[in-house]
């Protein structure tokens, strides 16, 4: 099985649904429209004020005409995967809890967040919740194995293709001990997800139990995140975790949503997408492609 052999109709969105919120821009299209979240930075600072004319996007090497809108005006759906396994305990868990409470409290009311506890079993802690409320996860404790890849695969698949930005945040030491699927499965899934994946990797024990030594599989996790237009960030300490949350959200909010109706490219199969700016010296992060 190869990516090109499989059909992944996940990323082609027919934007026929009216905006869910009055402040959300309305996109309508009579044909399939591809949307690509993009972040643009210079010296690690977001570059604001760009327009469609500033971007060059190719689909399978063919330049496309794009529209661009600042993502700042779009609400965000977040799936926060919180590693609460035995390898994340004590101070680390407290730091997680504090940073999560601060981050969720800082969301907009139009945003939504789903908190998911990752142990040997992956547990949704209460479904999608409105943003702006400080989430309490301090009472979770920490125990058991870590089905990290199960959690990641699930989050990447369930992220819906609607007119809200989809963001998956993973906070973990990256040590999977009990998933049935493996890192390569996550690596294959990620490019086809509707979500942008940010991985906050906290260095923890290198030998966490029966099932595991070595790792984390940083290279696969990083590749998975970058294939969605996100990033892997190594976090150390409470401030670093807060910074990770802030960076992920700011990057998404200060980014742009490019959209286009593919022209002069094959209708089916995997499409490589490349985005750059006409202004040199800027760093552009965007997903690497989609399935039609």
């Amino acid at each position: 099985m190869t990516p090109t052999a499989a059909r992944w109709p996940l990323f082609v969105a027919a934007w026929t649904v009216a905006a869910l919120h009055a402040q959300v821009p309305v996109f309508r299209a009579g044909v399939d429209v591809v949307t690509v979240p993009v972040s643009v930075t210079k010296d690690h600072q977001p570059v604001l004020g760009l327009t469609a004319g500033d971007f060059v996007l190719t689909d399978n090497g063919v330049p496309q005409a794009v529209d661009a809108v600042a993502q700042e005006s779009l609400p965000i759906d977040i799936i926060l995967l919180l590693d609460t396994s035995a390898s994340i305990e004590g101070q680390a868990l407290t730091q997680f809890a504090d940073a999560v409470a601060e981050m969720t409290g800082g969301l907009q009311p139009s945003d939504r967040i789903r908190l998911v506890s990752v142990r040997g079993t992956v547990t949704d802690l209460g479904g999608m919740q409105a943003g702006g409320l400080r989430a309490t996860v301090a009472g979770l404790g920490a125990a058991g194995g870590t089905s990290l890849y199960n959690a990641l695969a699930t989050a990447l698949i369930v992220a819906p293709r609607i007119d809200r930005l989809q963001l998956v945040l993973l906070c973990s030491d990256g040590l999977d001990t009990t998933s049935f699927i493996g890192a390569p499965d996550v690596g294959r899934l990620a490019p086809h997800s509707a979500a942008v994946l940010y991985v906050g990797l906290r260095r923890g024990s290198s030998d966490s139990g029966l099932m595991y030594t070595g790792g984390p599989n940083t290279s696969v996790l990083r590749a998975a995140a970058e294939s969605t237009g996100g990033r892997l960030v190594e976090v150390r300490g409470a401030d670093a975790l807060r910074t990770f949350f802030t960076t992920a959200l700011d990057t998404v909010r200060t980014g742009y949503l490019l959209r286009y109706a593919p022209e002069q490219v094959a209708a089916h199969g995997w499409h490589d997408v490349a985005v750059r700016t006409r202004t040199p010296g800027l760093t552009v992060r965007a997903r690497k492609g989609y399935d039609d």
Partner: protein, 702 residues
């Protein structure tokens, strides 16, 4: 040979002194109402040699960040008292003359006022009762100490009680921390010599002390004792990191040497260093904390100054023992050969009586400190033999043995994971002892259940014990010296107790496979491949028994799948490809063994069979068939997460993303999550421990 990475070592000593000037050797008036912090420094230049010509102006001292005026400075030779300790636990007698020779060399460097005593240790430290400067006496003491003729120091709880029961813990153990503690306390009683130092020679890994390096460090810090460690390679390695940290934190030194033949030169180096140090005194920080940061600067260029960053005030009494120190025990010296009558607690006997009588309210306590747990275990160990022996009929004795074994399992299971700190306090050692109790009588059907539950507790509390230990290079060349992992010991004992039982055939294969974990999904452990591959033959053998054939075939098939995945992982890590199909031969072998398993009676085994079949087919590129297999697994345990995620992933890959998203969303909605047989597979015994413990108690019913 040089002191390990050490250039300038300052030991912080807090001692009350009578005057600002250092007392001369022979004076006994060291105590005073005026506190002075003394720092002993060793300075080494860029050429690696000791720097001996520094003056007071070359140093600056800060305490808690504030510069302190130096009130005392000595560059002349200050007398010291040394407590010299030799590890004789794993050593052969051939090294004893070398130890005596090293002692002789050490004494040769003595200056006026220098003195020493001598100790040796295995599981039980012993030492001479006083200090002397007489060379002949010290040599005699070394020979006497190595010959076991000196006075036992107070020993750790575990070593003493286990020694009484098993008879050889004091001979085979290594109590490094207890030995250093003995030396520190002996030095504390010496009021005649200005400086104190412990020198320990060890080639072992502490496995019996009821204290740890942190406690020893605090003790040394309070009493101003420097610790020098001479480390000799041994079969089990040494506590290098901890010993090196202790030496560093106390201002001493860590000297690794290749063998005992270099012990003499190591002792010469230590003695030479002790004769060429600087002593700096300053008034203590006014901060009210118990611990104070200290900073020493050396103005001479091209010398490296290392120093201890903190000191503890001494007037807060003895540091609290660490939580894992055996409490009730350490006050009195232990006479070797004392009768085993202590620690027999009537309360324990009463608890065992109630347990045997089927009192369901009698459950072992959960402890919150290692010392309490250790005392409870020691008491049980000492009480159980007499309690068993109190029954006259053999059948009653057998029942009591089983009761002790079951009670011990309950006791272990009731404790938090954090209390177990192998090797000093380990589940495996408790289980070893319990098997010794069971071995005294004939096997019973209930005992078989005990073995299974014991394996589960090892998985839970001591997963690392399942694997073989990490080996040093020299150990890899001679692996026969290593003890088998605890799970293998348990399995082997079980086979002896129940020969011909099919379960053990499966268990041997399983033990071998568990040692091959972790799954190679993220690891870099090619050595595990060999271990995993060797389990295949054991599974083939187990499959010859009809009772366990289905499980043996399923496990063998998945092991083959795991081994085939290794090449994929390797390829993936190299960034060459995200994909790799299972070779036709591998796929055929996996499917053949899954077919050979038939249709297992147990639903969890059917679940696993289909789960593994799905993975094999998926990796073989037969995606539609894989989806079918995953659906079959799903039907055996709906929404169990392993099959649901596998099915969702396969659906997404086959273009059925809507069904995949719906399936996985529904999975997250189900709380609590259904029992997942895959987690039983990962930890094959642990999930059943409670059930087996209940079976054991039922078997004890009158």
């Amino acid at each position: 040979m040089k002191l390990s990475t050490r250039a300038c070592v300052l030991a912080v000593i807090v001692l009350p002194f009578a005057s600002e000037r250092y007392p001369q050797a022979g004076q006994t008036t060291f105590r005073s109402t005026t506190d002075v912090v003394y720092v002993t420094a060793t300075v080494i230049g860029a050429d690696g040699h000791l720097v001996t010509d520094l003056t007071e102006d070359d140093f600056r001292v800060r305490a808690d960040g504030v510069r302190r005026e130096m009130t005392v400075f000595h560059s002349d030779q200050i007398p010291f008292a040394a407590s010299i300790w030799f590890d004789i636990s794993p050593s052969d007698v051939g090294s004893f003359p070398l130890m005596a020779g090293a002692m002789s060399e050490f004494v040769r460097h003595f200056g006026p006022g220098d003195r020493a005593n001598v100790g040796s240790f295995n599981g039980l430290p012993s030492m001479t009762s006083r200090f002397t400067a007489n060379r002949r006496t010290l040599i005699n003491w070394v020979n006497a100490s190595l010959g076991g003729e000196d006075v036992p120091c107070f020993g750790p709880t575990l070593a003493r009680s286990a020694g009484r029961l098993a008879g050889d813990w004091d001979r085979t153990g290594t109590a490094s921390w207890s030995a250093i503690e003995c030396g520190i306390k002996a030095l504390a009683s010496d009021l005649e010599t200005p400086r104190h130092v412990v020198v320990i020679v060890t080639d072992g890994f502490d496995n019996v002390s009821g204290i740890d390096e942190r406690y020893v460090e605090r003790l040394a810090n309070r009493d101003g004792v420097m610790v020098y460690v001479v480390a000799v390679p041994g079969t089990g390695g040494v506590n290098r990191a901890d010993l090196e940290a202790l030496a560093d934190h106390t201002g001493g030194g860590y000297l690794p040497i290749p063998g005992f033949q270099d012990l003499e030169s190591a002792f010469a180096e230590v003695a030479d260093e002790l004769r060429h140090q600087y002593v700096i005194g300053f008034s203590p920080s006014t901060a009210t904390t118990d611990s104070h940061e200290i900073d020493v600067l050396c103005g001479r260029p091209n010398v490296h100054v290392r120093f201890r960053r903190a000191y503890a005030t001494s007037d807060r009494g003895t540091p609290a023992p660490p939580p894992d120190m055996g409490a009730a025990v350490v006050a009195q010296p232990l006479a070797i050969g004392a009768p085993t009558v202590e620690l027999t607690d009537p309360a324990v006997l009463a608890r065992l009586d109630r347990y045997l009588a089927g009192d369901s309210t009698m459950v072992p306590r959960t402890f919150h400190s290692r010392s309490d747990l250790r005392i409870a275990l020691d008491t049980l160990r000492n009480s159980a033999p007499s309690w068993i022996g109190a029954a006259s009929a053999p059948a009653d004795q057998s029942r009591r043995r089983l009761a002790v074994a079951a009670y011990t399992l309950d006791l272990v299971a009731a404790q938090p994971d954090t209390l177990w700190v192998p090797p000093s306090l380990s589940v495996s050692s408790v289980l070893d002892w319990t098997r010794w109790v069971l071995d005294m009588g004939p096997p019973s059907a209930a005992e078989r259940v005990w073995y299974k539950a014991a394996a589960g507790l090892l998985e839970r509390f001591e997963p690392r014990a399942i694997r073989p230990p990490l080996l040093h290079a020299d150990q890899r060349q001679n692996p026969v010296d290593l003890d088998p992992p605890p799970l293998l010991r348990l399995v082997k004992d079980g086979e002896k107790r129940f020969p011909g039982d099919a379960w053990w055939a499966l268990e041997r294969a399983l033990e071998q496979e568990l040692r091959s974990w972790p799954d190679a999904r993220d690891g870099h452990a090619p050595e595990w491949v060999t271990t995993a591959a060797s389990a295949i033959g054991l599974y083939d053998r187990a499959a010859e028994f009809a009772d366990v054939r289905a499980e043996a075939e399923v496990r063998r098939a998945f092991l083959t799948l795991r081994l085939a995945r290794l090449s994929d992982e390797k390829t993936h890590r190299a960034g060459e490809s995200l994909e790799s199909r299972l070779a036709d031969g591998d796929l055929g072998e996996v499917l053949r063994h899954l077919d050979a398993a038939g249709t297992p009676v147990a639903p969890e085994l059917r679940y696993l069979l289909n789960l593994f079949r799905g993975m094999a087919l998926q990796r073989g590129g037969r995606l539609a068939e894989a989806v079918g297999a995953f659906r079959a697994a799903f039907s055996e345990a709906p929404y169990a997460q392993s099959a649901t995620v596998a099915l969702g992933t396969a659906l997404a890959e086959s273009g059925q993303s809507g069904e995949a998203a719906a399936l996985l969303s529904r999975m997250w909605d189900i709380t609590p999550a259904p029992v997942d047989p895959w987690l039983f597979y990962v930890f094959p015994h642990y999930p059943h421990v409670d059930e087996w413990r209940h079976q054991l108690r039922a078997a004890l019913a009158p």
